[in-house]
Amino acid sequence: MSLAVAAKTDASTAPAILAATGLSARYGHIHALHGVDLQIGEGELVAVLGPNGAGKSTLLRAIMGLSANDGEVCFRGDALPRRDPVAVASRGIVLVPEGRGLFSPMSVSDNLELGAYRLGDKAEFKRRRDRVLALFPRLKERLGQVAGSMSGGEQQMLAIGRALMAGPKLLLLDEPSLGLAPRVTEEILETLGLLNREGLAIVLVEQKAPLALELANRVYLLSLGRIVAELDPRDITSHDDLARHYFA
């Protein structure tokens, strides 16, 4: 992984693929996000860390337009429509939701196919599918299997594979490590690192900070719906550093 770190682009100079200003979100009367400003550079992998209930999932949902929100989100300079996740997805922002959101009764193959639902081009479809199966060879063995009957790790691979089928320019991941064994988590995060080195911009929401820190170009710390710190992962040398920021 040390090689990967060396190859990373300098985040501060990259042009923004996504810029949110004053992003707020609420569930009914409860505000879950208070005026968040954040920037994701082209080709950047940004980790969003924070304790349970900090608003990490809400942040991703607000970017996607899945929750009631205020503020502005720009994608490559153009403002994204509000509350219209289909339009957001069609611009190339794809969310792998918390709990994966697989189409459980359907086969692995059907799930992948639905990821590319908006794609008409058959050759491109095949190219994407081959790529996903090369990234996650385990899915190849299970194409005919019902998605819900696979292990947690395989389901997460499928969720990411399905998102890749949509041809994302920006991938939003909500706790991909949730409930997975450390070895599987590592495997998945390594694949994410690989995708990022190939130029895919990624926002990774995680609770397991050490894993995310290894991959990320930049880290936002979220607490009680606000960004409390923006960090360079290389500056965080110990768990104490992070804890200090959490509770600052």
Binding site: M64, G101, A166
Partner: protein, 301 residues
């Protein structure tokens, strides 16, 4: 296996005729309705307690246009279906923003309102009295009057409905509905226009309901508000779950079984309802995904 069962039952009714033919005819009409219900509730995993409203629109339009205004059945039926689909579009557009229990309540209201209209709008529907003298179904000079003729006609309509359902299931649209059924949020996040597909399934379902309503009034020759009341909602839900929700052949199997079971249990006299209830409970325990799922290797759980 389920197909063989259906063919045997319809064949038996064809040979015996009389009362058996009437019971099976009603079952086939229900099968059309439940096939539509299944598109919305099975394929897209939504809830509607109000599809009886669209059956009422189709049925009453057919009844009024043919019995009162002397139209021939086919254009009356066509107009009934169009009207029902239009009504479904008008109520569905706002109602489908609701989810889960709220959608169930909203659609239930649609059914109840339609029922009230059929009762109160006496100048057109003749209220509880109902409309009689509705001609049998026919095209031009050819009328379907015999039991056997009706059974053949209804079998053809059911076969066409099931064929359509099977085609829809395998189509791009059908796969989008499966995605909606699987996870609406995930589907939306992949750029699948969930709201549009839900509405489309709702409209299709309303079309099937109107077709069934129209068939009913022509087969019976009479219509009153109770025909499309709450009882219909309960019976068709039972059929859908007994037959196998989400399967293609389930609605037909469910419609036949639920229509025939009470007849079978007539021998038990006083215990008829008890036996019927027990049979349903056993079904739901041993075949929770419906009878049709027992015969498909993937459905066995």
């Amino acid at each position: 296996m389920p197909w063989l069962f259906a063919v045997l039952v319809v064949g038996y009714a064809m040979v015996v005729g009389g009362y058996a033919a009437t019971v099976v005819s009603f079952a086939l009409i229900y099968a059309v309705f439940v096939t539509g219900l299944n598109l919305f509730m099975g394929f897209a995993a939504q809830v509607s307690f109000g599809q009886n409203a669209f059956a009422a629109i189709g049925g009453y339009l057919s009844a009024v246009l043919t019995a009162t205004y002397g139209w021939s059945p086919l254009p009356g039926m066509a107009l009934g279906i169009v009207a029902a689909v239009l009504a479904a579009a008008i109520v569905g557009y706002p109602a489908l923003r609701l989810k889960g229990h709220y959608l169930a309540m909203g659609t239930l209201a649609i059914g109840l309102i339609t029922y009230e209209i059929t009762v109160e709008w006496q100048s057109v529907t003749q209220g509880y009295m109902g409309i009689s003298g509705i001609p049998p179904f026919g095209i031009g000079p050819y009328e379907v009057t015999s039991d056997r003729g009706q059974l053949i006609l209804l079998s053809l309509v059911v076969a066409a409905s099931l064929f359509a359902a099977a085609r829809i299931r395998r189509s791009r649209f059908g796969r989008a509905l499966s995605a909606v059924a699987g996870s609406e949020e995930a589907a939306v996040a992949l750029g699948i226009d969930v709201a549009r597909y839900k509405l489309a399934a709702f409209l299709l379902s309303a079309g099937f309901a109107a077709l069934a309503g129209s068939l009913f009034v022509h087969v019976v020759g009479f219509v009153s508000p109770e025909v499309f009341g709450l009882h219909m909602v309960i019976v068709t839900f039972t059929m859908l779950y007994v037959g196998g929700i989400g399967t293609v052949v389930g609605p037909l199997v469910g419609a036949l079984i639920v229509s025939l079971l009470p007849e079978t249990f007539r021998a038990f006299k006083d215990y008829q309802d008890l036996a019927y209830g027990a049979a349903l409970i056993l079904l739901l325990i041993y075949a929770p995904r419906g009878l049709a799922s027992l015969f498909s290797p993937r459905g066995r759980s």
